[in-house]
C-alpha cells in the first residue's frame, strides 16, 4: 500500500473528514482503505479534492476515531448493530472487537447484557466460542450467537437430545461439534460437526468397533492442541469408553475402552492436560452411584492416576463430588461438592484422598428450591465456581475468594463457560444467559 500524499480528505455521505494515510494504514491490509490505496488503482478525487464514500458519516466518524485513538466510543444515538455493520463494510470488525472489551480478568468482569432465549428453563450447556460468541444447547436445539450477540439460524437435531457442544478451529466461522444421545432403533446419534453460520452438518464422527460402524451416545467433549477431539461414548454393546477423532478429517484415531469396574463412557467431564499429555475423565454422581476420576495416557493406553469415592463410602452424602478440574501448575485436581466446598487432591500421589477446605457451611439449609450442581472452570490461574445464582472467583496459592458475579434474575446458574475473553452464564429457571466481559484497560 502506497499512500502518496499523507493528507487524505473523505466525503462520507456528504460529510467531510480529513485524516492522514498513516492513520488509515492502522486499518491493515484486509481493510477497505488498504484496497482503495492499492497502487494499481488510479484513484480519482472529486473536483473538491475529496474521495467520496457512500456510507453513514456518523459511524465513519466513530471508526475513524477508533483508528486514530485505538479506543471505541459509541455515542448513545448510534445503535451498536449499525456500527458493527459499517465496521464489516470497512473490514474493521477486528479493530472494533478488540477495542470493545479487554483481556479477560475474572476480578474485573462487568455485566454486558442478559440475553433471553426462546423457552424457559432446562438449558443443557452453554459454550463460549473463541471469537466471543456462544452457543446454548437446549433439548435437541442448539442456538448460536455471534460476538455481536446476533442469533444465527439454530441447529435442530431432530429430537436427539444434545449432551455437549464445543467449538473447533479459530476460522471464521468456527465449526461447532455437537454430541447427542443415541436414538434407539434409528441408528442415529453420536457427534457431528456443524457450520456455525449456516447450521449445516459438515460431517459425522463415527465409532468403529472391529471394523463395523456402531451407533452410540456421545457425552462430554474435549479438544486438544494436536487437533484431536475426545468424547465419552456409550455404544450398543461393547463401545463404552473414550473415543478420539481427528478434528480436521473426522476420522476416528483411537478408542480407550472402559476397564471393568470403572466408568469412562458415562463421563460428565473431560479435560486435556497439555503438560502431561493426559486426559482427565470424571464420571460424577448421579450418572453413576459413585464418582470416578482418572487420568488416561493414550500413548501407553494406561490409566496413570485414578480416584473413586467408592473407596470411602462412609457418610459421603454431603461430600459428593459434583465437578472436578485438574490444575496442572499446582499438580492437583480441584473438586466441588453441592455446598460449594472446594476439595483438592494431589496428582503426584496415587489414590490420594480429598482435602476439603470447608468454606461455606452457611449455605446448608438455605438451598434454593431448584438447586443446580456447582461447576468449575479455570482460566489463567483463576478458579471459577458457580453456585446457585452466582459465580465465585478464586485466586492465589490458597484460592482466596476474590470476586463474586451475580445477576438477580433467571434463577440458579446451571452452566457457564469462558472463551473469547468473555464469560457466559446460563440460568436454569428462565432461558437467560448473561455475558460478562472485562472493560478495555484505560489508556490514560
Amino acid at each position: 500500500m502506497a499512500i502518496q500524499k499523507d493528507r487524505v480528505r473523505f466525503n462520507v455521505g456528504g460529510k467531510i473528514f480529513e485524516t492522514t494515510g498513516t492513520t488509515l494504514a492502522i486499518a491493515g491490509r484486509e481493510s477497505y482503505f488498504a484496497a482503495m490505496f492499492d497502487e494499481n488503482w488510479d484513484l480519482q478525487m472529486n473536483p473538491a479534492g475529496e474521495y467520496f464514500i457512500d456510507r453513514n458519516p456518523d459511524c465513519f466518524s466513530i471508526l475513524l476515531d477508533l483508528l486514530r485513538t485505538g479506543e471505541l466510543y459509541i455515542p448513545p444515538n448510534v445503535p451498536e448493530k449499525q456500527l458493527y455493520r459499517e465496521a464489516l463494510f470497512y473490514g474493521l470488525t477486528d479493530h472494533v472487537r478488540s477495542a470493545k472489551w479487554g483481556q479477560f480478568d475474572g476480578n474485573r468482569l462487568q455485566p454486558l447484557k442478559s440475553v433471553t432465549g426462546r423457552a424457559p428453563g432446562d438449558g443443557t450447556a452453554i459454550r463460549a466460542s473463541p471469537d466471543g460468541g456462544c452457543c446454548v444447547a437446549h433439548g435437541s436445539m442448539v442456538h448460536i450467537y455471534d460476538w455481536m450477540l446476533e442469533e444465527h439460524p439454530p441447529i435442530n437435531l431432530d429430537y436427539q437430545r444434545v449432551n455437549d457442544a464445543g467449538w473447533v478451529g479459530s476460522g471464521d466461522p468456527a465449526g461447532l461439534v455437537i454430541s447427542t444421545c443415541e436414538r434407539v432403533g434409528r441408528g442415529q446419534g453420536g457427534m457431528g460437526l456443524f457450520n456455525s453460520t449456516t447450521g449445516e452438518l459438515r460431517y459425522k464422527y463415527s465409532v468403529t468397533h472391529e471394523g463395523i460402524v456402531k451407533s452410540y451416545t456421545a457425552g462430554a467433549l474435549c479438544f486438544n492442541d494436536g487437533y484431536n477431539l475426545f468424547s465419552s461414548c456409550k455404544g450398543r454393546s461393547n463401545e463404552y469408553g473414550i473415543g478420539v477423532w481427528d478434528q480436521n478429517t473426522g476420522q476416528q484415531v483411537d478408542f480407550f475402552y472402559e476397564p471393568p469396574g470403572w466408568s469412562l463412557g458415562d463421563a460428565d467431564k473431560l479435560q486435556w492436560l497439555n503438560g502431561s499429555n493426559c486426559l482427565l475423565v470424571a464420571t460424577l454422581f448421579p450418572r453413576k452411584d459413585n464418582c470416578y476420576i482418572s487420568l488416561l495416557d493414550f500413548r501407553s493406553k494406561s490409566m496413570v492416576w485414578s480416584w473413586s469415592d467408592m473407596w470411602s463410602p462412609a457418610n459421603s452424602d454431603d461430600r459428593r463430588v459434583r465437578d472436578a478440574i485438574a490444575m496442572e501448575e499446582n499438580n492437583s485436581i480441584c473438586v466441588v461438592n453441592e455446598f460449594e466446598d472446594l476439595g483438592f487432591m494431589d496428582l503426584r500421589r496415587e489414590s490420594g484422598s480429598v482435602r476439603w477446605s470447608s468454606r461455606s457451611r452457611l449455605m446448608k439449609g438455605k438451598m434454593p428450591d431448584e438447586p443446580c450442581y456447582p461447576k468449575l472452570a479455570l482460566h489463567e490461574g483463576q478458579l471459577f465456581s458457580s453456585m446457585n445464582d452466582c459465580i465465585s472467583v478464586f485466586y492465589g496459592s490458597d484460592w482466596v475468594l476474590t470476586s463474586r458475579l451475580r445477576r438477580c434474575f433467571g434463577g440458579s446458574i446451571c452452566d457457564f463457560s469462558i472463551g473469547g475473553d468473555r464469560l457466559f452464564a446460563l440460568h436454569s429457571e428462565e432461558n437467560v444467559f448473561d455475558i460478562w466481559e472485562t472493560p478495555p484497560s484505560s489508556i490514560v
Binding site: 484486509e30 477497505y32 484496497a35 482503495m36 492499492d38 494499481n40 488503482w41 488510479d42 484513484l43 480519482q44 474521495y51 467520496f52 464514500i53 457512500d54 464489516l88 463494510f89 473490514g91 476460522g171 471464521d172 466461522p173 457450520n195 453460520t197 449456516t198
Partner: protein
Amino acid sequence: MSSQKKANFQIEAFKHRVVVDPKYAEKTWKILEHAIHEIYNHNASGLSFEELYRNAYNMVLHKFGEKLYSGLVSTMTSHLKEIAVSIEASQGALFLEELDRKWTEHNKALQMIRDILMYMDRTFIPSTHKTPVHELGLNLWRDNIVHTIKIQMRLKDTLLELVQKERAGEVINRGLMRNVVKMLMDLGSSVYQEDFEKPFLVVSADFYRGESQLFIESCDCGDYLKKAEKRLNEEIERVSHYLDAKSEVKITNVVEKEMIESQMNRLVHMENSGLVNMLMDDKYEDLGRMYNLFRRVPNGLSLIRDVMTSHIRETGKQLVTDPDRLKDPVDFVQRLLDERDKHDKIITLSFNNDKMFQNALNSSFEYFINLNTRSPEFISLFVDDKLRKGLKGVSEEDVEIVLDKVMMLFRYLQEKDIFEKYYKQHLAKRLLSNKSVSEDAERSLILKLKTECGYQFTSKLEGMFTDMKTSDDTMKGFYAAMGSELGDGPMLVVHVLTTGSWPTQSTTACNLPSEILTVCDKFKMYYLGTHSGRRLTWQTNMGSADIKATFGRGQKHELNVSTFQMCVLMLFNNGDGLSYREIEQATEILTSDLKRCLQSLACAKGKNVLRKEPMSKDIGEDDTFFFNDKFSSKFYKVKIGTVVAQKESEPEKQETRQRVEEDRKPQIEAAIVRIMKARRVLDHNNIVAEVTKQLQSRFLPNPVVIKKRIESLIEREFLERDKDDRKLYRYLA
C-alpha cells in the same frame, strides 16, 4: 355466523418480503463485469474504486453473493482462455516471455479484483466454504493456461530444454526461468512438482547416466571426481538461482546416484588412478574430494574404508614379514611409524578426521603388527635406541612426540607382556651402563605405560630407578666411612639391585682380580653391616670397568671394558702370551661369554688391545693371546664394547619366549580363579571368553593354554567338573 353462510372471502397472504428489483442484481453485476474487463484490458484508470466496492458489497448484502461469485468465475475464465490463445500463438523463444508477461498482468488484475470483492472475500466466501478470490484466480490460471494441452507440454519441454542448454554451457535467461518456475510454485507445490520437478528429475537422471558412462570410459579417477563435483555444484547453484529450494535434495540425489553411486566401485578400483594409487601417492586433494562425494551416497564411505583397510593390511603385512627388514629393528619400527603417520595425515587432511577411518587404521595396524611375533621386541629396541642416543639434543616436546608415537604402536600389541620383558632388559642395560640420555624421558615413558596398563605393569620398572638412586647414596656412604682404609686401590662403584625388579640372569660368577676382590669384600662388609639380613651376589656379567693401560711406545689410553674383559686384561699384567685354556682357567668365565669378550678384545678393528695367534676372525679353543704393543688409537679413551647381538639370537629368543609363557601361567590361573570366585559355575567357553577379556590388556592368551590351566586347577582342587554336565566347572571354596 351461521354455518350455511358460505364465507366467500379469501385472506390474502400477507407478503412482507421486499423484493429487490430483479434487474438490480443484473445491472450491478454488469457494472462489475465491465470493470473486470477493463482491468484485464489495462483500462482501469476510468474505474471508481468506491463505486465498485459498494456494488460488490450490495450484491452480497442482498443475497446475490452466489451470482457475484459465479459471475467472477466465468468472466475470469473467459479472459484466461483468450490469454491462453495469445500465449499459444507466441513464436519459439518468445513463448516463455509471453507467459511470464501475461502472468504478471494476471496477478495485477487479480489483486485489483480482490480489492473490489474484498467484502465478498470476507463474509460470503468463508460462510459458504468457497475458494477465496486470490486462490481462485490462481486455480483458474492453472486450469486454463498451465494445464491446457498445448501449453503444458510446451512449457515443460521449453524449461527442460533451457536447463539442458545451460548444462551444455550456454547462457540462458535465468531471470525469466526464475519467474516462470516461481509461477509454478505459486500455483501450488503439486503443480511445480508434477509439471516441472518430476520430468526434470527424470531427464536429469538420463543425462547424468549418459555422462557418467562417458566420463568413466575417458577419465581417470581423479578427473572423474572433479567433474562429478563440478556437476553437483552446478545443480546446487541452479536450484539457488531459479528452482524451489526443496528441489536441491532431490536433484543432488539424482547426481549422486547416477554419477557416484552407480560408478563408485569402478572408480575406487580404477587401474593406476583408483583409491590405492591415491593413497600411495598421497593425493590429499583427490582423496578429500572422494571422501566428500562418497559420503553423500549410501555405503560410499564404507567402500573407501574397506579398500583402504585391505591396502594398509597388505602393505603392513609385507613390511612386517619382509626378512630384510628384520635385520634392523630400529628401521623396522621407524617404517611402521612412517606408515602410520602417512595414513594419519591422509585421514586428517582428506577424510575430515572421520572416526570410522581412524578406527579402520587402528584395526589394520593391530592386525599386521601382531603378525610378526618379534614386534614387541623391536619396539622395545626402538625405544632403547632412541633413549640411548636418538634423542640427544632433541627438545622435550619432540621427545614426547616420539614417545607418544611409540605408545601408539604399543597399544596395537597383543602381547604386551613380552614387550615388558624386553623393555625391562633394555632398561636394565641402559641404567647399569649409564647409557640413558635423559632420565626425564625414561620416566615419561614409564608414566605413559602406567596410564596405559596400570600400576602393576610398571612397578618393577620404577623399582629399578629406585635401586639406582639408593645405590648412589650407598656408595657415598661407603666412601665416607671406609675411604681412608681403601688407599689408592681401584675405585669401586656398586649398584645394589633388588632381586625380582631386575631381569634375572643366571649368575655366572668369575674370578675377580685380587685388587678388585679386596675392595669388593670391604664393600660387602660395609653393606651387610648397615643392612642386616641381606644377601649380596655379584653380577659380574652386568658390570663394566675403566682401566688405564700403557702400550709399547709409551702411549697411554683409558680402556672402557666390561667386567669380564677387565678380568682378562688384568691377567696380562703378569705375563704375556696366554692360551685360551689358561685364560679360561684363571677367570672361570663361561665359554660363550669368554669367547665373546675375547673376540671384542682381539678381533675388533681399532680396538684390538690383544693380539691373537693364529690371526682369524673367530676364537678357537687352541688360540693364544698376546698383549698388543702396537695398539694405537687417536682417542685417549677407548671403548671396547662386547660383541653382543643387539637383537636377540635365536636361542635367546626361545628362552625369553619360554620365560614369558611361564610367567603367563600364574596370571591365567589367577584370572580363572577370580572369575570363578565371582561366578561360582561357568561353562568352558565362557571361562575362555572372560579370561581373554580380562587379560587382553597384557596379552592374548591361547585357549589351549587356558584349558591346561583349568585342568591344573582341577587337580589342585580349586575347581571341579559338574557331575551332570561335563562342560560346566564349579568353584570350590
